[in-house]
Each structure stands twice: as C-alpha cells, then as structure tokens.
C-alpha cells in the first residue's frame, strides 16, 4: 500500500502513464480552481482574513505550551479525556485501548489525515476491530486499499466507472442489473450501506480541524454529515488531532473557518461545522457517552523555532494541491506518503526524514502558485528551498548534480573564465546545429532533449558582440 516517498521517480513514471489518472486530474483540477476563485471574489475581505488567520496561528505557535495546557485543562473540566502521543505507536495504542475497553467490534471513522499518518486502520484490523471509513472518498479508497491522493478529496484520482467496479466487487448484495453508471446512484448506494454502519458502530473516530483552548472544544468540518453521524451515534467518540491544531478562542476559530472552506472547495462555509466539547451531559437524549482526544506530536514540536515553523500553520485545505501544476500532472499517490502536493513536500520530510523524501522538495518549479493561494500564507517555495539546503548540506543530492552545479558555480564566480567558457560552448553548439537553429540531441543533456529540441545559440555571446559593436 505504501508507495514510498523515496520512490518518487518511479511513482511519477507510473502516474504519467496512467490514462485514467490523467483523465481524472485534467478534469477535476480546473474545477477546484474555478470554485475558489469565485468564492474569493465574492468576499472582498478575503485577503485581510488571510492575514489575520496567519497572525492567529503564529501567536498560538509562539505560546503553544501554554495553549496546550489550557486546552487540556478545559477538556478535563468538561469530562473529556486527553491522551498524549509522541509517536504513531503511542497514538495507535491509545486508540486500541479505548476501543478494547468499549468492547468494540466495529468503528466508524470520519475523515482524518492523522489516522492516515498513524496507519490506524491497519492496526485496528490486525487487532480484530473493523474500521469503516464513512467519508465517501475515504470509503472508496478503503475498498481499494489505497491511500488518499488528496487532502480533502481522497478519491480525486478516480473516475466513476472505477468506483462502480469497486462497489460491485465489494457490495455483493448488488443486483447486477442495477444501473450504477451515474454518480448519484453511486452515492445512494454508499449512503445505504454506510447508514447501517453508523447505527451499528461501537466507537466513532474523527479528526479535528481545530482545537479551541478557551473551551476545550474540537471542531470538524464536513459536507456529507458523515463525521456527525460517526461521532453522535456510538457510545464513544475519539478525536485524532495533532498538537498544532490549537487556536485560542471561538472568534479565532471562526476567522480561520472563513478562509478554510473558501480555499478548499470554494464554499462560503462547509455544510457542517461541528463543535464538540466533552461527552454526553446530564439529560442529553443522544450523543457519545465518552469523549477522548488523542494529541499527537510525531515530529511537530521539533519543527517549532526552526526555519520550517510556518508549515505548522497549515489547515489542510488542499488549495496548494489544486493549484499545483506538478500535483495536477502526477496526482497525489506519486508523493508516496500521507500528505501530497506542495505542502506535503514540506511536511513529509519533517515527519519521516529528508533522507526518505529527498525528491519531494526538488519536484517543484518554484512557480509560486501554492504560496499565492495559501489561506495561511505559508511561504511554501521558501520552505522547499530550505529542504534543498538541508539536502545540499547533507550531500543527499545525486553526485552528477553536485558536480555539475559545483563546476558551474566555480565558473560563475570567475567572470573572465566564465566568458571564455560560454563563448566556446555557444560556438560549438551553434556549429552543431548546422544552421537549423536547434539541436535534437546534446551530450549530457538527455533530460532536456528527451522531450524537446534545444534551441541553438546564435553563435557569439552577448558580451563578445557588445565588445565588437560598442568598443
């Protein structure tokens, strides 16, 4: 299941040759972009809200220890439980212990990237507990034993006929004659199957978009209503969250929510924004009896105070993925781990080690669209460049690149020598073009000439000609 971030180049090769994936990516990418543009244009205050959202999160990160304490105290005060987890192992163990105590046979799950990060489903299944993903996209990829290819649209890499085939394979009750060629029919089928799971589940597990220190509240944002059915019907609700999800107050959460949905799906507000504080209160006719929060670190604290701290502002909206020409060319699975796209290329090396993800920060043209659309104004290209600096320091780049660029830089620092070398190169290449103006093959430049001709130099360098013409 794990393609591996280290295998980025192989993954890319497969992705580029996958017609269905290419079709899905070409069709859907532009839709996300158009929706966000429309939502942004409809709210004149949007960019000011982004500035405030950034400032709120920066304030939290600078005082994270105190906010974590405040939050924890408040959760306890409302009868909830907080479980701290340094590693994925810790988090898995905490979830399993809660499930065992509840004698859980089956758990329903709302969408959670932390769950992916700690490979929770596999762990539960190995321990005899059936995990059922309830977000439609997550459900589909669970049937396929895949990882999400997108932070908010996990099945964006698939087409409807692939989904139909999966449903027919797994939903053995399906009448072969039933027409499932249209998307609403597929959704209806999933609704019917999952409704029974919600009602039967012993534990509901959700993620958290935010944790509010003021009130000890966790927030989930969905459109389907699956997260709410997941957390409301079973006896036990477990929230999976990481330590950087803290925001100070209801007002601060509200400000960030205003930029979240617009950036993600182009909605003004998601259909369901749910604030959960503790378990069932005296007299409550429904809702979970127990409320647990797993607080995961998994490398995040180490990012604080470094040149990478800004990545912790991320609210996982997916806008940088939607606007990334690289992501839109290869899809999310090529990135090989949990978080794909530009922000994934920043986060993944921090969480699994740059040595295991060394391609990711390099697979960017630094076109800057990610930073341009990021609601939290994370300078993604700058952070990718910082990772490249780490790779350079640790000699993680390919030898040919090191030597090539090293030689070039040595020359570039010596203008006279550089002048002579470029004049020679310009003349040689121009001669080899034989007046055609371009070259089909150039030694050591197959990376260029595999798909393109190399435009030939005009013959002399600008500096040569300038000297001749303006002595």
């Amino acid at each position: 299941m794990d393609l591996g971030a280290a295998n980025f180049k192989d993954n890319v090769g497969k992705a580029l040759a996958d017609d269905k994936l290419q079709f899905a990516m070409t069709e859907t990418g532009p839709r996300f972009i158009a929706k966000r543009t429309k939502a942004r244009e409809a709210l004149p205050e949007f960019d000011q809200l982004r500035d405030q959202a950034r400032d709120i999160k920066d304030h939290v990160l600078d005082h994270l220890d105190i906010y974590l304490e405040k939050y924890e105290a408040k959760v306890k005060e409302t009868g909830g439980h907080v479980h701290w987890a340094e590693t994925p192992d810790d988090a898995r163990a905490a979830v399993l212990a809660i499930c065992r105590k509840a004698n859980a046979k089956m758990v329903t799950k709302g969408k959670s990237m932390i769950s992916e990060e700690i490979d929770l489903n596999q762990h539960l299944a190995e321990n005899g507990i059936v995990p059922v993903e309830t977000d439609l996209g997550e459900y589909i990829i669970q049937l396929r034993n895949e990882r999400p290819s997108h932070i908010i649209a996990p099945a964006v890499h698939l087409t409807r006929d692939q989904v139909e085939a999966d449903f027919r394979r797994v939903h053995t009750h399906l009448d072969p004659k039933r027409d499932l060629t249209e998307i609403p029919a597929l959704v209806e089928e999933a609704r019917a199957v999952l409704r029974q799971k919600y009602l039967a589940a012993d534990v509901g597990i959700t993620g958290a978009n935010f944790l509010i220190a003021e009130t000890g509240t966790s927030i989930i944002v969905t459109n389907e209503g699956n997260g709410d059915l997941t957390q409301t019907l079973p006896k036990v609700h477990i929230v999976l969250a990481s330590i950087e999800k803290l925001v100070p107050t209801l007002e601060d959460a509200t400000t960030i929510l205003r930029v979240l949905a617009r950036s993600a799906t182009g909605q003004d507000f998601s259909n369901y924004t749910t604030f959960s504080t503790g378990g069932r209160r005296p007299g409550d006719p429904d809702g979970p009896v127990e409320y647990h929060v797993i607080l995961l670190d998994n490398g995040r604290a180490n990012v604080l105070g470094t040149e990478f701290q800004d990545m912790l502002r991320c609210i996982r909206c997916g806008a940088c993925l939607n606007h990334c020409p690289v992501y839109n060319s290869v899809g999310g699975h090529a990135y090989g781990w949990v978080y794909p796209g530009p922000i994934g290329s920043v986060v993944t090396p921090a969480l699994i080690g740059i040595e295991n993800a060394r391609h990711l920060p390099n697979a960017s043209t630094f076109c800057g669209r990610c930073e341009e659309v990021c609601p939290m104004r994370i300078p993604i290209p700058k952070m990718l460049r910082h990772w490249r600096e780490k790779e350079f320091e640790r000699h993680l780049q390919p030898t040919s690149q090191r030597w090539g660029l090293g030689l070039w830089a040595w020359m570039a620092k010596r203008p006279k020598l550089y002048r002579r070398a470029t004049a020679l190169a310009a003349r040689v290449l121009a001669n080899q073009a034989h007046g055609k103006g371009r070259l089909r093959k150039v030694p050591l430049a197959s990376g260029w000439t595999e798909f393109r001709d190399l435009p030939a130099p005009q013959g002399k360098t600008f500096h040569q000609l300038w000297k001749e013409r303006r002595p």
Binding site: G368, Q401, A412, W448, R452, D453, K460, Q464
Partner: protein, 254 residues
C-alpha cells in the same frame, strides 16, 4: 521621464548571453529609445539562481556579492527576465543579516533593479513603442515575473502599441510552462506533461506567435513546439517591442 538620461546597467542574464544575444540588443535599443544611457558591466555572469535553488547558499551568496559589486553606481539595473529580476529584487537581501552593510547594499540594488517591461512602463513612463511586427500573438506570463514582481499588464500594454500585433489571451496564461530551471532536466516527464498542457492552450488561441519575457520558459516551449513540428514562432517580448524581424525566431533556422 524621471531623470535627464538615467545611467542603466544591463544585467544580460546567462541565457541571453549565451543563447540569444539579440534579446540583449533589443533591450538596449528599447532602453536607449526611452532615453537611457546603457552600460554592460563586464564582471557579471549569472544571478546565481541555479545554485540558490539547488540549496547551495554559499555559492549563491558569493555570486550575489559579485553582482552587487558589478552594478554599484548605476541609477538603475534592468533585466530582460522576470526570473533573474526576481532573484535580485526578492532574494538577494535574504542572503545577508539585516543591519549589515551587505544587507543595505543588497536592498539598494533590489530597489534599483527592474524587469525590462516594467522598467519601461513604470519608471520611464513609456506609453508606446515605435515598432512594427505583424503577429497574431499570445503572451505567457512567466511565474517569477508574475508572482514575485507583479508583472502582468506591462508587457501587454507595450505589445498593444506595436503596429501589427494583435494579442489573444490563452487559458491559464499564468500557469507554469514546466521549465523551472534545473527542474526540467531533473524531472523531464513532469516537465513535459506541464508543457503539453501549456502548448495545448497556446495552440487553442490560433496565435502564430508565442511571446514571453523569460528566455528559459521560451526555450522550453520553443523546444517542444519545434520537436512537434509546430509552425508557431516563439519570441522574447524585447525582440517584438524592438521590431526585430531580422533575427530568426527561437529554435528556427536562419
């Protein structure tokens, strides 16, 4: 015009120097037509981006110091590239500790440095150029120029004043062409996929000429167009604005 005859240092860029000096001469003509005195400092090589974007801070910084020294004393520094311009304007100051002389010098250079079309329109207040160039053209916004320097209307405004040029916008003009410096040779497959999409949008406009302000992007797009046998001519914006018909389009025979 702000000063009687501002003294401009031309930052040629490494690609223009080696591959297409005609872009540099077109830039010189445009600057001189606008009333500038143009000089070309000898000690320049490259802006240092290849090192900078490969994580080699030390070399990038050393190259930046060379450029800062080479362009001391000019009223303005003009670059026929948004990418190299962005490097000098946005990134050079990051190499130095605020408060140091080097940082002040980097900031000073950043303030004096402009991409060619934005210098002509914003600083020299050029409204139109005296040139003729028959072309049904489409314009690709290079990423750095657009997003680091905010250049969008400047080239279009000047191109609109060229007799014979008609501009038609392509879909996603602001999306990267897949060049990305060393990216395009390190990840040729992804680069090619991006390029394919870009060329599809270019062809859909029915334009006979593709124009942009960065030679890197232009070489990338021209290289693929010519590999596919496309008749679309590819040119740097400076050449069109200078009315340079004589030089063959990028990647085409004399």
């Amino acid at each position: 015009m702000p000063e009687s005859s501002p003294r401009v240092g031309l930052f040629v860029t490494c690609l223009v120097d080696m591959f297409r000096p005609s872009v540099g001469f077109a830039a010189v003509k445009l600057l001189e037509d606008a009333g500038c005195t143009v000089e070309v400092p000898e000690a320049q090589t490259c802006c240092g981006q290849p090192a900078y974007n490969s994580g080699d801070q030390a070399d990038a910084r050393a190259i930046a110091c060379n450029v800062i020294a080479a362009f001391r004393g000019y009223d303005y520094v003009v670059v026929p590239s948004g990418s190299c311009g962005g490097m000098i304007v946005k990134h050079y100051p990051e190499f130095f500790e605020p408060g140091t002389t080097e940082h002040d010098e980097a900031l000073d250079l950043a303030r004096r440095t402009h991409e060619l079309t934005s210098f002509l329109t914003r600083v020299m207040k050029v409204e139109k150029v005296e040139a003729q160039f028959p072309a049904r053209a489409t314009y690709h916004d290079s990423c750095s120029g657009l997003r680091e320097l905010g250049i969008r209307n400047e080239p279009r405004k000047l191109l609109a004043s060229v007799a014979g040029v008609s501009l038609r916008e392509m879909t996603d003009a602001e999306v990267c062409c897949g060049f990305g410096g060393t990216f395009c040779v390190k990840y040729p497959g992804i680069s090619d996929k991006m390029l394919e999409k870009k060329l599809h949008h270019i062809e859909a406009t029915g334009a006979d000429t593709l124009i942009a302000g960065d030679l890197g992007c232009l070489m990338n797009m021209a290289g693929k167009l010519k590999r596919m046998g496309s008749p679309i001519k590819v040119r740097h914006v400076a050449e069109v604005l200078a009315g340079d018909h004589a030089t063959p389009p990028i990647a085409e025979a004399k």
